[in-house]
Symmetry: C2
Subunit: 422 residues, 2 copies
Amino acid sequence: ETIDTPVFELKETLTGKYGEDSKLIYDLKDQGGELLSLRYDLTVPFARYLAMNKIQNVKRYHIAKVYRRDNPAMTRGRFREFYQCDFDIAGQYDAMIPDAECVKLVSEILNQLDLGEYIIKINHRKVLDGMFAACGVPDDKFRGACSAVDKLDKTFWDDVRAEMIQEKGIDPIAVDKIGKYVELKGRTELIDKLLEDEAMKAQKSAVEGLEDLRVLFKYLELYGITDKVVFDLSLARGLDYYTGVIYEAILQGFAHNPKAGADGDESVSVGSVAGGGRYDGLVGMFDSKGKKVPCVGVSIGVERVFAIMESRALASNTKTRTTETEVYVVSAQKNLVEERMKICKELWDADIKTEQSYKRNPKALDQFQYCETNSIPIAIIIGGSEIEMGVVTLRIVGSREERTVQREKMVEEIKSVLANLN
Amino acid sequence: ETIDTPVFELKETLTGKYGEDSKLIYDLKDQGGELLSLRYDLTVPFARYLAMNKIQNVKRYHIAKVYRRDNPAMTRGRFREFYQCDFDIAGQYDAMIPDAECVKLVSEILNQLDLGEYIIKINHRKVLDGMFAACGVPDDKFRGACSAVDKLDKTFWDDVRAEMIQEKGIDPIAVDKIGKYVELKGRTELIDKLLEDEAMKAQKSAVEGLEDLRVLFKYLELYGITDKVVFDLSLARGLDYYTGVIYEAILQGFAHNPKAGADGDESVSVGSVAGGGRYDGLVGMFDSKGKKVPCVGVSIGVERVFAIMESRALASNTKTRTTETEVYVVSAQKNLVEERMKICKELWDADIKTEQSYKRNPKALDQFQYCETNSIPIAIIIGGSEIEMGVVTLRIVGSREERTVQREKMVEEIKSVLANLN
């Protein structure tokens, strides 16, 4: 299914869902009536929608704009208004079946878009929590540790380590233990190894998370994408509402290079193009009785994908046509605007995408130039002699080949030329 | 071309463009930075976009949401957030060629949507101004007279007359003269008659407008839509920025009946589904040097069109499918989730739209019920014996016809069945 929700939500709906980033929410002015804010993502509105409409299960996608009062970075595809494309599966189902489908979907999309090599990093909130506990981080510092680890894709471990110790007040011994774990990457062999790890296997949360991941990796193998996924203990994802599996897709050619510095080489720092995870508690926050609807989903960063595709098109000098016009009706002499209109009507009626000049007596050169500039494949040319003889001249713009066509055969001939050109 | 503009504009961009309706604009809260408002229509953002990007000519469409702090009326398709679909032609061209194309386009769209009989009312701001002058209305009261006449599609002449006299302070003799003119409807014969009318032909503005309309009706005849258009002197359209031809498409079965009263029979009061006109001065308001770009365009009221299509579908009990799933993979026994996943992968890889249950061991009945509820045409059924024999059972959900298919022929067979069903 596809759904659409309003661009604004009640302000209170968004409150407390985005941690530190809440300061980036756009509020509407109080003009009387409800206090409103522009949506910050598509996930919270989706959860609100499910709770409000008492929907227990649905699989939906939603492509729409979201709003953040952030510093824009055009070349990285970061704007204050930008599209997100979300896919979510809501419902009380068996472990990892919907989760595996979300990861498979990301992989299918990235394959189809042909953006080059990518890897989907996978982790689990319970594994993270178990890992923090195993390292000796107290419960109330999990969140802080998690948001520090989340920065590992942008900065060096030394900076993250300093943040954990100095800002988050975590014991250096615990931090150094974390440092060993977050280096780990692998697949089922790593899952098995961690299930044997003395410190980890003592944590119920870690074991539950690892068991989930074992099932997930089995399913991903059946879906044929084992080589596209990696279990990565450094993946944290900042949002508060995740409760289970989390994942993020990174384009390999565009991975952020910390050495480039904060402002260096922005044009290739668009690595992360999709991310998501399981959020089983969010819908319940909007239900008067707290009734939960488990959900798992993914957001595709459409703008980042477009930024990459555009820079590639520019680099390869590929010209992208932005119109679909098939035929341009050209008058080779003056005072033929009415004849052109008759031809346009005939072609429009035959569902052929047709344009003409909006001038009464356009110059022939300007009309041909328009065809070239806009890559219009066919020109239909009329002059006095054509009208007298009941014919038109059909020109293939690309090859400049011309042929004379009987007026009553015109539509048929154009359709056959178009079919051959495609 | 299609373009996209942000959902918010600088507040000052929208100021002074919508007359009395400006009070319906949503403003954003001042959180530091520019003062912003949500767009009220797509025309003003388009004009701002042209001026800012120094675009002299373009033909674009734009489908997007606009925002009005109005009283919603769900059944009439009136919301605070609603889609508009705009088509505009910008550029310095010869008279009435782009204007005729806009009217032709409205006609094509309404024909395609098959919403029933409709009529496109046409008038001209210069004809209206000339008419007011001819009736003895002073210049400074044109705008007031115009906004009163604009209500004629919703109320009786007596009410409009009272408003002109009491609220707008127009001389009753002038008002009664206006009353005679606004009754007039016709085509070229009416244009000719008014060009002979003593009072009208004394007004330069009226003559210019009528000459434009004569050319327009000639072009519309060439475009084959004379029977769909009518020159109607009661058409005014409220927006300040129109400078030339104006038009509005009314569905005949849904014309507003003033006798039904303000709240009566709302469900059929969606008569007007498209409107537009020429606005030659708007772009210049956003250009630092006041450089004008003449424009003409039309807005389609997508929400109203949908309201009509939905009520028709409801009335005729037509079930609209909201998903495109072609195949549902059913397991007839327990412990076959991994087999289902293998089949899903195979079908997805072959671009067949496929779903399965997210439960490990769903009940057979639930799975078939899902197919029926969602009008999924094909079920692929697997059980222990199918797997052993290397086959699947293909069921046509509609006819319940079943056949056994070799596993390696499955994709081919599904494609052939789908081709036959379509």
